[in-house]
Symmetry: C2
Subunit: 163 residues, 2 copies
Amino acid sequence: MVIVLGIDPGTAHTGFGVVLSRGQHLAALDGGVIGTGPDEAIERRLARIHARVCDLISEHRPAALAVEDIFFGQNARTAFAVGQARGAVITSAGLSGVPCYSYTPQAVKQAVCGSGRAEKGQVQRMVGALLALPEPPESDHAADALAVAICHANSSSVRLALA
Amino acid sequence: MVIVLGIDPGTAHTGFGVVLSRGQHLAALDGGVIGTGPDEAIERRLARIHARVCDLISEHRPAALAVEDIFFGQNARTAFAVGQARGAVITSAGLSGVPCYSYTPQAVKQAVCGSGRAEKGQVQRMVGALLALPEPPESDHAADALAVAICHANSSSVRLALA
């Protein structure tokens, strides 16, 4: 059995998803979005994201934190903003002694949809199906976070360790 | 009197500088580099940077944390890495209730050297002169951190508040 915390970092919306993997069986323990407002100062926004991720780690005691790598075709400004939110999140893992794993967007889509070129809606539907949710996650941030958690839970290293 | 903590964020080398401003008088209270090794996991590196900045805040109780904006001519990968380290640093400020201020590299050079196009060595020398250090800071990361702290201490808003 392994618990993975997946995070899709962003200053305005940070998606989170907690996935329990037991053999071939996957289940969602938690999922949602940490939202912060543009009127708030950046230091307060990042501190809030960081604190919430610390809370999720205390609550679920995940064996790993999984995050998506950024797609480097993006412009530097976007990369910088995502990097900042990701720094706040990864710091939470580091302070709690939880190891971090990073996956390319292609690897995550491949793990969840069987194709590295799947579209957003397809990821949401497949996350819902793989976790046997009553319906797909409404937020694509939460879906992306659950997807990267599934990707890590199904990675060969975790499978080997569980075997 | 105002105390400013300046930070030059980077995963491998984060420069820091603590500047005390009293009227026209500036003094360095602290300065140096937080170094982390490439063999360490990213979550441990960011947590170490974050914790050290928290310590500096506890020790010096600055009124503000000042950081340089990134130069957006850089590529996305560099912007992402600097953003990550900056996120770890800014989170420290947010958790401690210290407001963050951000300045363009041009504004920092202008404040310290009188020209937005000054070179690294010139920044180091001027930082040494403005803070009456026995010699310029050896590390350009520490010099850049002290420079952004000076830039904030000399900004019109701080001058007005002190007047």
